[in-house]
Amino acid sequence: MKELMRIEGLKMYFGGLKAIDGLDLTINQEETLGIIGPNGAGKTTLFNAICGVYKPTDGKITLKGQEVQGLPAQEMARRGIARTFQISKPLADLSILDNVIAAAGVHEYTGMRSYFRKSHTPEVVAKAEAVLEETGLRELRDKKASDVSLGYLRRLEIARVLVTDPELIMLDEPCAGLSNFAINEVTELVMKLKAQKKSIVLIEHNLPITMKVCDRIMVLSYGKKIAEGTPEVVKSDKQVIEAYLGEEDEE
């Protein structure tokens, strides 16, 4: 498998708090990588460090041969890193379609030049609509994002990710807070993307789904990697079981 992103010696320290303490990780192309760990292990912090929301305290992140650690979020987005958020962040006043169109402009937002380029061209609208179709949101096209339930919002964030033609799809707990029905729908969507050979990194608390969907899993605890491997390997790892002890996690 070809390497897409390499993380070496990543450290995220917030004052005295060592949220991530020396992490090495390789993300491969066409692979679905799962990141699991107890609450507070540093999973979202890892995402934020990769996506440019946080500037790493130390360490190196290489994307397709280029060093990208410390670049701001919008720059990472332009380099093909697309993410969803643990707490859904829709553009509330805009329609579902406009939410996706907004993301479609990822390479258009260049300051004053963006003033001279029309956003809702037939090509862009068609592309956005295609993504809505793919994520099952076509009927909600004209609905305001603030009027739509969480299950759809999570799919909307995935639609926003897809329309940018990303190199790497990063999903932060896409099933959190959803009904069983909605969880199934989201899982199906992720499986569909996996079948399309997309590169995916997934944070999920829902262990059965993670085991089912992911090719490889990394386990984080207190900012350190405590296990890595296929779902079977990770499932029976002693340290992993210990870390989760007391966390009745078969949700």
């Binding site: 006043d93 406009d98 956003s119 940018t164």
Partner: protein, 300 residues
Amino acid sequence: MGAYVYSIGATAAIFILLALSLNIITGYAGQAMMGHAAFFGLGAYTAAILTQTYGVNFFAALLLSMLVTGACGALVGLISLRLQADFLAITTIGINFVMVALFNNLSITGGSLGLTIVKPTLFGVKMGNRQFFWLTLILIVVLCLLIVKMRRSWFGMALASINNDAGAARSFGIDVSRYQILTFIIGTAIAGLAGGIYSHRMGYICSSDFAFVISIQILSMVVIGGIGTIRGPILGALLLTFLPEVLRFADDYRSLVYGALLVLMVRFMPSGLIGDNSPLVIGSKKLLGRRFAKKGGQKA
């Protein structure tokens, strides 16, 4: 049209420019700007000093005052990156007060005596209310067209995204800081333009013309009309310019009515009279059915 109408019209037109420019900063970019009159004044004084002291051509002076004001707006934009909403609001109030204090104390601005301006000539004719009215009206039309184009462009999508969720905006490539600074530059530059026109139309300016209370008036025009739209600030400016004239008989109660109007609007119709979510607009949309549905869901 009588001379009186041109006189009021010129004033209204200047304030329409101010309201539209403030709306770019507060409505489209969602930034707290409570000191817009400071830039109005900066443009007014800059243009006046250029034409009166340095003999610069009126129109060139307008352009230059836009540059100066926009540059200061860039500074405020930079400040806005460091300060969160409420802190920024108070800081812009502070900037207003400090600017007015400078206008009132520096000799180049005439100090507390203010500045007298000789009205410029256009094609050999001395410019009066009539000429200023038409000049400003043309600028308003141009500005509206430019704003419509902005709303339909990726620039407009960037602002809408930032306004809704800056974190999400960054996640799909928007440099939030850059766009914030740009909107401050654009908004303040247009206020400077309005100021340059104002000083030459009035023939005399002093620091109190640009006090904090004026910033509030401009903000009220935007809020009452409907923040975040083009039609809102225009209506707001027209209303708050013409209403005091219409209500001249109740002149003594003007502030009372004004204050009550603000409170009632914000309490019951925070989207403004003709804003996107105002009862009036939603009601007329229902009445006129699908005629108001816009392509791709975008609003003008």
